[in-house]
Symmetry: C2
Subunit: 304 residues, 2 copies
């Protein structure tokens, strides 16, 4: 396949290219070589938040909204956790598959197995492939919210943090260290009791955070009732315009590329170490305590 | 300081050695060189679970229980999230500081800044230092539960998963991918309504998981009311005996050392790449799209 000539219509080829990169099959580096210069025009939205917040429904309705504006939409659904994540996710995927019959949409699920440089690098690679072949908008949607999800959505240009009314103190606490990555906050299921209270709480929490030039808005919405969605799209466009005007988008993408670079480097190193003849021996010595961890690492590093 | 001669009584020296390794200061590799052969006798317990589950109280009472059996107890409290994690944690730390006046106890908090090979490697290093200088029991306690916490407590010999009655579906779902690391489950705050129901739910969840030779018990306890604690200690001892008998402990530690080895290797690579003269240039080219991420990684890797 001539990678340079794959377009948005060639869904099967797009899928194959992503699989190649994801599994680091022979030739995957050529996919990048061919496509990388064509990247940069898609806008990447990360959607994260706790399970049950309605991230899939919001992804769904946002995708429809972009489609109605004649945009090509790529959706990457991420589940970094183990196989038994339960039925609701599967249900979401099936529901979203209705979207996938639309020629302007490409949907891809990504799990946690054996990716090149980890899930974060694999996601980033998938984003770049979609970007190169003609996506206008790419949505990365996570299943839960945690450190690994944070690593992944960090590659996005705008991050939507989806929350629900009545999150207990526990979940609020869990979000420390996660809250600050949100560019736009959406209190979904705004018809539930306590929506306004949660909005106020989130705003209060944000006011304690280090001030950035962009002030994250906190919006009420209901994805299933299709309420407040235009406001979310408007906020995304404001954030995009804000970043483009101040050169922030360029800086953000540069930072993300730097991260990707190190993820690929790490992967390279690990693969080479595991192939070393000395590796099992050194590990044995380490376990027997005849060599310490730093000396062991030095020894293996020297061999490469 | 002569590292080999530091003993459990020299709290200040222990603290300094951990700081050296944590910040990778000049000479930190010598700490390991001197101490590594003395490691292996401490038993390492990881305590994790959602915020608010009472992990600190449980750590506290377990530590007291081990002290009463004349054990030296090292406690490493981990907070991988950002500075604003809220007041309750600080409160816990202050409360735990009462414990720290006991000569048989050494307490250390670890945050997320700039550690050698990341927080996971830094924790593992701290564990080994405590082990070498005379800890009998080392407790690693996390603030929350997520991917990064999982990475950290994985270095333990036994993992206690602490939960509370009435966790909503949301939190249950969040725990997929996390549940399977637990060796012993403790439903803390067992006096709250729904404790038995949560116990049954956890047991049901466990029954869906791939069967392992060790069947994780699910225990009811109340750390603050000091109920069910002996059962937790007994379960820990059973798990230890089980692993020691079947050689599983050796295998587990070997696996953990392998992880540590790769964390140190990664750190080494990253430090060297960042020092390369070409690194800013390659990053610039990457951002300008005159080179693709894989080619950029190859180029930097060659230079090392």
């Amino acid at each position: 396949m001539n990678y340079k000539e794959v377009t948005w219509k060639n869904k099967r080829q797009i899928g194959r290219m992503i699989t190649m990169v994801e599994n680091a099959v022979e030739g995957h580096e050529e996919v990048f070589e061919a496509l990388y210069e064509k990247t940069g025009s898609a806008y990447v939205i990360g959607i994260t938040g706790p399970p049950g917040a309605g991230k899939s429904s919001l992804t769904d309705i946002l995708a429809r909204s972009f489609i109605s504006r004649d945009k090509n939409v790529g959706i990457i659904a991420i589940d970094p956790t183990s196989p038994f994540t339960g039925g609701s996710i599967l249900g979401d995927r099936i529901r979203m598959n209705e979207l996938s019959t639309d020629p302007r949409v490409f949907i891809r699920s990504m799990g946690s197995r054996g990716q090149l440089g980890g899930l974060s690098a694999a996601t980033s690679s998938a984003v770049q492939i979609l970007d190169a072949v003609g996506a206008d908008i790419i949505i990365i949607e996570t299943v839960g919210v945690g450190q690994s999800e944070v690593e992944i959505v960090k590659h996005a240009d705008s991050i939507l943090m989806v929350m629900v009314p009545g999150l207990g103190d526990d979940i609020q606490a869990m979000k420390a260290g996660i809250m600050e990555i949100g560019d736009i906050f959406v209190i979904n299921k705004s018809d539930l009791p306590g929506a306004n209270k949660t909005k106020i709480e989130v705003e209060a929490m944000l006011s304690f955070m280090p001030k950035k030039s962009w002030r994250p808005p906190v919006l009420l919405a209901s994805a299933t009732k299709e309420e407040g969605i235009e406001e979310v799209v408007d906020a995304l466009e404001s954030h995009r315009a804000f970043q483009e005007e101040d050169g922030l988008l360029f800086e953000r993408r540069k930072r993300n590329l730097n991260e990707l670079l190190f993820e690929i480097l790490q992967d390279k190193l690990f693969r080479q170490v595991k192939k070393l003849e000395d590796y099992p021996l050194v590990l044995e010595e380490l376990t027997e305590k005849t060599i310490d961890p730093y000396a062991a690492a030095n020894q293996l590093f020297e061999k490469i």
